[in-house]
Amino acid sequence: MNALTQLWNHQRYRQVIYQVTALLLLLACIFWLGHNTWANLKQRGIQSGFDFLSDTAGFDIGETFLISFDGSQTYWSAFGVGVLNTLKVSSCGLLVASLLGLMIGLGRTSAHTLSRFICSAYVELIRNVPLMIQLLMWYVMLVEYLPHSSEPYSWFHHIYLSQEGLAYPGLLWLQSTDAHGVVNSQWVWSWPVFDADGVHSEFNFSPEFLSLALALSLYTSAFIAEIVRAGIQSVPKGQIEAAQSLALTPWQIKRWVVLPQAARMVAPPLTNQYLNLVKNSSLAVVVGYPDMVNIANTALNQTGRALECISILMSVYLLFSFAIAWVMHKTNNKARRYLQRQANADRPGGART
């Protein structure tokens, strides 16, 4: 038996050998891929580097959020607009999906068979059809089946829905100079106007945005509903029976006994669904909503810098993912500590400790 075999038979050393081998293999792989890329780029005469970001973008973006954009600005600003648009649609989706999911989830555990049935039908229908197809269906419905903007649906003559999108009133920051040269700035209500030419509004959700937000929130709400249902059903039956024997009303039982306990079960899978929603917003490219992916795709086609555009895209999404995971983690911890404190305070003699 030589020294090498002895070394191999020692578990500690074998682990070291395994790990060093794995690391070397990984490095070799990365080196090989990097070398190939370098050779390919050189052979095809493709320039690389992130310097293109300060070039003029040369394309217009149909829809911007918070900042304005035109073709004479740089790729940097284009990517910025894309990120903001992604944030806009994701945050709308998160809000609607959470509320809807909570309601459907409660409906699935309702005392009445009818609402249970309707809610399960909703969940099964939505969950088993790919988001992509739902998105395309919403888009077609909004663009082709809604009335033309010359005869829109209107609510209270202030909200108009047509093929051009949803026009809604909003607050505008207006600056005006009066006769004495004094600059006045104030918040002004801006109302959509409907005349012979159609609907004009400062505030308008485009059909692209609407279809994406709708599809994302409905799709995610079905998954959130399932999580809420599982959370509610995980509350031990004894808890509900105890609450009933204390003569709490059904609503009080739900509010004070079931939901707080369900919330603890719900938080981790909910984080996953939120992350999924943000990642799924990348489907915007299908309907032409100018989100992060769409902008990166355009930039890629214009400049041919696949490597750079895709790595920007991936890092932005990673950043989003880590940010959401971090926020949810913090919220979860805070909630747990709060509940712990409450429990301690409620315990007889708890105030002393």
Binding site: A111, H112, L114, V129, P130, P250, A306, L307, L313, S321
Partner: protein, 411 residues
């Protein structure tokens, strides 16, 4: 657990006990004599009779409305909304719809009713894509084979120790047969000269969806198992490599991975060797879903009792022996429902490959309609048709997964 004596159940009519005035108001302790006075025996209640008639139903309903008015109101609203949607769908999809392959009738019913004739006209294009018309039976046969195998695999017997090896080999053979059927070549050799060979770029529709989803789960499972083992291992470097891979992949959307597969893979490969786009996309989906598979497998590994590992170690089994003969068989039994769910997710995700111009179901629909101005306005009907196909598969599989989970829980 079940052998423990169950605690005596409390009297059902506790609330209707007559309460002694001294007990009702104050919390003073009372002595035994008073307690004896308070206690009054109540006659046993009669066994509840189950009424099924209308009056009983009405009584239940009125009680529900009285005790839970908010919920009753919400239920009513929900029912009305559902009715409204249902009537809308019925009107559009059945009553005013055109079922014949008749362009003129469809044109006049436009906006009022659906044109299901479009599906009748185009369904072969939607199902099989650009595959040569005369050869489309090969697609149908491939799909039938794949679906048959899928049906067997999610059944109760397929992954028992008796059939496991057979199932695995059957999958390998099915894969090869489907490849030969679809392309007309067997591993690149023209062994079937009677059938014309068909380039992969002509593959499309349902076979492509099935090939992508089944192929990627078949490749992702071993990779996922390795990643999960790595993540749960004690070796810090290997563990961190696996964690890094899993978390990075789970943090980015599939679209970016598909973009990578279609734009970046050609750059990463040695000069002038560009693999087929189907292979590239398959690889991309595999790399993507391996991370998710790893998390499912990790759940299974954690479900295995620690005593099993200790028992294996005390028998002096090595790491791989322990994993191969003790841990993995138990873990894999736990994760079958999770794997079915994983498969459903991948199956739905394959609809994204249309973005990198592979014509699976969604892409094939675009192909069928965009080139034909007569039928182009009836996209919604087409999407509904595809949605129905996806729904059928996913719903059936999710039911299977639920059953498996149920069976596991009751084992």
């Amino acid at each position: 657990m079940n052998t423990l004596p169950s605690p005596p159940s409390p009297s059902p009519s506790l609330t209707s006990l007559p309460v002694h005035p001294k007990l009702a108001g104050s919390h003073e302790p009372c002595d035994d004599q008073e307690r004896a006075q308070v206690f009054q025996e109540i006659a046993a209640r009669s066994v509840p009779v189950e009424h099924k008639g209308l009056p009983e139903r009405l009584r239940q309903l009125s009680q529900f409305i009285l005790t839970q008015p908010i919920e009753a109101l919400l239920t009513l609203g929900l029912a009305l909304l559902a009715l409204q949607l249902l009537s809308l769908a019925l009107n559009w999809g059945v009553l005013h719809a055109v079922f014949q392959i008749d362009e003129g009738a469809c044109q006049s019913a436009r906006g009022e009713g659906a044109c299901w004739g479009m599906v009748g006209e185009k369904f072969r294009m939607i199902l099989w894509g650009r595959y040569p018309y005369a050869e489309q039976w090969r697609c149908a046969l491939s799909c039938a084979l794949a679906l048959g195998m899928l049906g067997w695999s999610v059944g109760s017997k397929a992954w028992t120790s008796k059939f496991r090896t057979i199932t695995l080999w059957a999958w390998v053979i099915t894969g090869l047969v489907i490849q030969a059927l679809m392309s007309g070549n067997f591993l690149g050799l023209r062994v079937l000269p009677l059938w014309p060979s068909v380039e992969t770029e002509l593959w499309g529709g349902l076979p492509l969806t099935l090939i992508l989803s089944l192929g990627s789960i078949a490749l992702a499972t071993p990779m996922g198992i390795l990643l999960a083992l790595g993540r749960t291992s004690e070796m810090p470097i290997i563990q961190s490599i696996c964690v890094l891979y899993i978390e990075l992949v789970r943090g980015v959307p599939l679209i970016s991975v598909l973009f990578m597969a279609s734009f970046m893979f050609p750059l990463l490969m040695p000069t002038l060797q560009t693999p087929d786009v189907l292979i590239r996309v398959l690889l991309g989906i595999t790399l993507f879903s391996a991370a998710y598979t790893a998390e499912v497998v990790r759940g299974g590994l954690q479900a295995v009792d620690k005593g099993q590992l200790e028992a294996a170690q005390s028998l002096n089994l090595g790491y791989w022996q322990t994993q191969r003969h003790v841990i993995l068989p138990q873990a894999l039994a736990h994760i079958i429902p999770g794997m079915v769910n994983n498969f459903i997710a991948i199956f739905k995700d394959t609809s994204l490959v249309t973005i990198v111009s592979l014509y699976e179901l969604t892409g094939a629909l675009g192909l069928a309609l965009n080139g034909d101005a007569n039928w182009r306005p009836y996209k919604l009907e087409g999407y509904l048709f595809i949605a129905a196909i996806y729904f059928f598969f996913c719903f059936a599989l999710s039911r299977v997964s639920q059953n498996l989970e149920h069976r596991l829980a009751n084992r």
